[in-house]
């Protein structure tokens, strides 16, 4: 099959970007979207042109490195997958595919389709952990945890930090990402001692990084490749409220 790519090109953070169009021939449905991009990039290199820069690494939906806006949808139109898991069999022969980077104030474009998401690390630094040192911890079975809670904590912990939720949100809010971590630790006994500070500090860090407010549109949940539920945002709000009252 053949597709026409309309891709965002931008030299670096300072430069103005623009769309460029590339027809790509001999695409097979079994190729992943990135394998199609690899093929195009090889052709560009051989023609002496600059290949399209895009972020990716594991190519199996777990590292959270990839993330493209494809035809206006974060990670493409299929639910529950990342961009690297998208296959060309999901597109029509002759289709025009518009490819853009994540767009949010807190994620500057560094080249073409690559953005900088270190703001997520800084939010984590503000409290996305249990303060334990290496060594001196109790036996792993010393604290039983209800399977139900462990499972729900695991649902939240599945977040891969891809930032599709932010890219999709009209307010560029990072609430789903923050909620996933706060909720995971709030559900577990290990997270209790720092529960109050964690919610306050992570939200403060999020505001400081320039992410917007959550107005409960629910778009994030739909685009999240790990299908993290917005019920975690509900829990985060309750945590935050309780914490603000105490704090």
């Amino acid at each position: 099959m053949k597709v026409i790519l309309k891709v965002w090109r931008q030299n670096n953070a300072e430069s103005q970007g623009a769309f460029e169009t590339y027809p790509v021939e001999n695409v097979s449905g079994d190729m992943s979207f990135f394998e199609m991009m690899d093929m195009l990039n090889d052709q560009l290199v051989l023609a002496g042109k600059t290949p399209i820069a895009f972020d990716h690494d594991c190519r199996e939906g777990i590292c959270g490195t990839c993330g493209l806006f494809i035809n206006g949808r974060a990670h493409g139109k299929i639910r529950g997958i990342t961009t690297c898991q998208l296959h060309m069999r999901s597109f029509e022969d002759g289709e025009t595919i518009v490819v853009e980077p994540w767009r949010a104030k807190a994620f500057p474009v560094i080249k073409d389709l690559i953005v900088e998401r270190t703001s997520f690390d800084r939010i984590m630094e503000a409290g996305g952990y249990v303060s334990v040192k290496t060594g001196g911890t109790p036996d792993a079975n010393a604290i039983p945890i209800a399977k139900r809670n462990a499972e729900e904590a695991m649902d939240a912990a599945s977040c891969i930090g891809c930032a599709a939720c932010v890219a999709t949100c009209k307010n560029s809010s990072a609430m789903l990402f923050v909620a996933a971590k706060v909720s995971q630790l709030a559900l577990l006994p290990q997270g209790q001692p720092e529960r109050v500070e964690r919610a306050l500090n992570m939200i403060a860090a999020m505001d400081e990084e320039g992410f917007g407010n959550c107005t409960n549109t629910g778009a994030c949940e739909i685009e999240c490749p790990k299908e993290i539920s917005i019920s975690h945002i509900g829990r985060l709000n309750r945590e935050f409220l309780k914490a603000s009252l105490k704090g």
Binding site: N12, S28, D30, F34, E35, M36, D38, M39, D42, V45, L46, G48, K49, P51, A53, D57, C58, R59, E60, I62, C63, G64, T65, Q85, H87, R89, I110, K111, I114, E116, R117, T118, D121, M124, E125, A126, Y129, V130, S131, V132, K133, T134, G135, T137, P138, D139, A140, N141, P144, A146, K147, A150, A153, M154, A157, S158, G161, Q184, L185, L188
Partner: protein
């Protein structure tokens, strides 16, 4: 001479004695030491956090945007420990024994015993961090079994154990980043190691966004940079995983141990097209409940549902009645290849075997199967377009893990003083074959519980000896790095980096892959240097040095793979025996099992770089077995 520094005394007391006799750094002096850690996967992140907690100043580097992107994130199946929670007769000694035996007796007793010993601390640590491991209804931790063991000792977090462990280590790391005890340099690639008076004193990096070349000095350097499976181009590793840090260190004097010993994982999704960029693993845990089979009739292309029970060959259950589908990886992989070579392979290419869950679904119910393996089944369906609840999965072996790596002594120090190697990047604990769920264990053991105890022994005498980046050694290394980059950019030939990398991969897969023989290896030793010449004459790298340039990054890595590839073939040719993942066709039993030669090859092959145009020199570290008896591995 190689001194492995294995402490004296009975096996079970060595580590305790060693910790006691190692020199300590006074708590108030720790802040006077700078330590560079390259790589923040499981091994690097756990080490960086633990050393910072002790008070050392840590500079951590990764070519990734965030530590959370490291390839450790992709580990699916689980992590071993000798907790014996299921009461099925596990113990530290049994985990030690299984690992030594699984490694086909090519690892050190003392290292493996220590690994088993600290395994339990790792689980305690991870639970304390809030890692949501799988639990039973009573609220206690659940275990499952894995290949190469007859007890259930594997802890897991759905099919995302590596993700959860890495996020745990990452959380400990960000806590230290927040206090400033760790300075993390994201998107910085180490391109060379700097030695002063023969000791590791710093590194030279390239800022991947701006292209800036920078020097960093410290009292010691730690590499936790992962494995080199991507030498084969196609592997289950992440796209960027590479050997550059290890290879640069090797060229500066760190010996490379057992480079030919690589692991081919039996359960991966088969190659679909020539555009394939990577292979996807289906966790080995699937072999707990799935049954592997091929049609008895050669070339049988019928739909599997039309092939009746008596027309199927459950060859692992037939050949290995006591371990069945749970034989170690090397055995399972080789048998799959053999079945396909004999014409029993399935699917369009004939390079695949079935992994069938029909019985499991009947026995446990679909709900339980969904709960245990749901995400793996979904992943399979997304990639192949087939539904494994309806039709058996097709699987084929793929390159997965490298047991070889930089040589280290018991303290995890390489042959360069002050240079430590952790995680998959070292060769230490898995011998000729790594058991499932043991890499995560080893990476975290190295980072949380071993290096923090052993590094003090080296540092304690060196207070105030921190190097300065003003030393000539740094500017000289910077110049070398810049020249190499200029070279790569100036060739302007007509082959892409990937094109040459794929050719290398094919040479390695065919000659240094699942089965090796003398003539194939000699062919590889001849053709790889030619391909290296071709690379340096004819590669095309676009763009400039002072911008984000992924083609340039790849080019530097492939240049190193080309050199490492040759050493892999040389090592394989030298090792005239079969052991674990290294199968020499000339050395097999009548039943086609690996035939070791303990008389002559019970050693670690540690290679010393002698110069670009000279052959590497072999050093042997004899392996001494005082506690286990060397037997032929049998999984029958």
């Amino acid at each position: 001479m190689l001194n492995n520094k294995i402490p004296l005394g009975p096996l079970a007391e060595k580590w305790t004695n060693h910790k006691f006799s190692s020199k300590l750094v006074n708590p108030s002096n720790k802040r006077k030491y700078d330590i560079i850690i390259v790589g923040t996967g499981l091994a690097g992140a756990s080490a960086a956090a633990s050393l910072a907690e002790l008070g050392y100043n840590v500079q951590a580097f990764s070519y990734h945007e965030s530590p959370r992107r490291a390839h450790s994130i992709a580990a699916q199946g689980g992590i071993n420990a000798a907790k014996n929670y299921p009461n099925d007769s596990d113990s530290i000694y049994r985990l030690f024994y299984d690992t030594i035996k699984g490694g086909d007796y090519r690892s050190r007793e003392a290292n493996v015993y220590r690994l088993a010993e600290v395994s339990n601390n790792i689980i305690d640590q991870c639970v304390a961090q809030g890692i949501p491991f799988a639990r039973e209804y009573g609220g206690l931790l659940d275990n499952r079994s894995f290949g190469g063991a007859q007890v259930s000792r594997t802890f897991y977090a759905r099919g995302q154990t590596g993700q959860q462990l890495l996020l745990g280590a990452y959380s400990a790391l960000v806590r230290q980043m927040n206090t400033g005890q760790v300075k993390f340099h994201s998107r910085h690639e180490m391109l060379d190691l700097v030695l002063i008076d023969g000791e590791a004193k710093g590194i030279v990096t390239r800022n991947l966004i701006t292209g800036e070349i920078q020097s960093h000095a410290a009292n010691a350097v730690v590499l936790a940079t992962g494995g080199y499976g991507n030498a084969f181009f196609l592997s289950t590793n992440a796209m960027a995983s590479n050997a550059t840090a290890a290879w640069r260190a090797h060229k500066k004097g760190a010996f490379f141990a057992n480079p030919c010993i690589t692991q081919i994982h039996p359960t991966c999704i088969p190659v679909a097209s020539s555009h394939q960029s990577k292979l996807t693993l289906m966790s080995e845990s699937l072999r707990n409940d799935g049954r592997v089979w091929v049609p008895k009739k050669k070339g049988d292309k019928r739909h599997p549902s039309e092939i009746s029970e008596d027309e199927r060959d459950y060859y692992l259950e037939r050949l290995y009645p006591s371990f069945g589908n749970l034989v170690p990886r090397d055995v399972a992989s080789r048998r799959a290849k053999e079945m396909c070579d004999m014409g029993h392979g399935v699917g369009e290419t004939g390079l695949a075997v079935f992994l069938d869950f029909e019985d499991a679904i009947e026995r446990m119910g679909k709900d339980v199967v969904v709960q245990k393996y749901g995400n793996l089944f979904d992943m399979y369906k997304q990639i192949t377009g087939e539904d494994p609840y309806e039709i058996p999965m097709r699987i084929y072996p793929a390159v997965h893990y490298t047991m070889g790596g930089l040589w280290v002594d018991y303290n995890l120090m390489s042959t360069i003083p002050g240079l430590y190697i952790l995680g998959e990047a070292n060769f230490s604990d898995h011998g000729a074959n790594r058991l499932g769920a043991s890499a995560l264990m080893q990476g975290l053991a190295d980072g949380y519980f071993i290096l923090p105890y052993t590094i003090g022994d080296y540092l304690s005498g060196k207070l105030g000896e921190k190097a300065s980046v003003d030393n000539d050694a740094f500017s000289k290394t910077e110049t070398d790095v810049k020249n190499r980059i200029e070279n790569l950019l100036s060739i302007n030939g007509n082959r892409t980096v990937d094109d040459i990398h794929k050719e290398l991969g094919l040479i390695l897969w065919e000659n240094v892959g699942m089965a090796r023989n003398k003539s194939g290896l000699e062919k590889a030793i001849e053709s790889i240097p030619k391909l290296k010449d071709e690379f340096w004459k004819n590669v095309k790298v676009t763009g400039t040095a002072d911008e984000l340039n992924p083609e340039l990054e790849k080019a530097g890595r492939v240049a190193d793979f080309l050199e490492l590839g040759e050493l892999m073939a040389r090592d394989a040719l030298n090792r005239e025996e079969s052991c674990g993942g290294h199968f020499r066709e000339e050395h097999q039993t009548e039943e086609n099992e690996a035939k070791r030669n303990d008389e002559e090859f019970s050693y670690v092959a540690a290679w010393e770089h002698k110069g670009d145009d000279l052959t590497a020199k072999l050093h042997k570290e004899e392996l001494v077995f005082e506690n286990v008896e060397l037997t032929t591995r049998s999984y029958k």
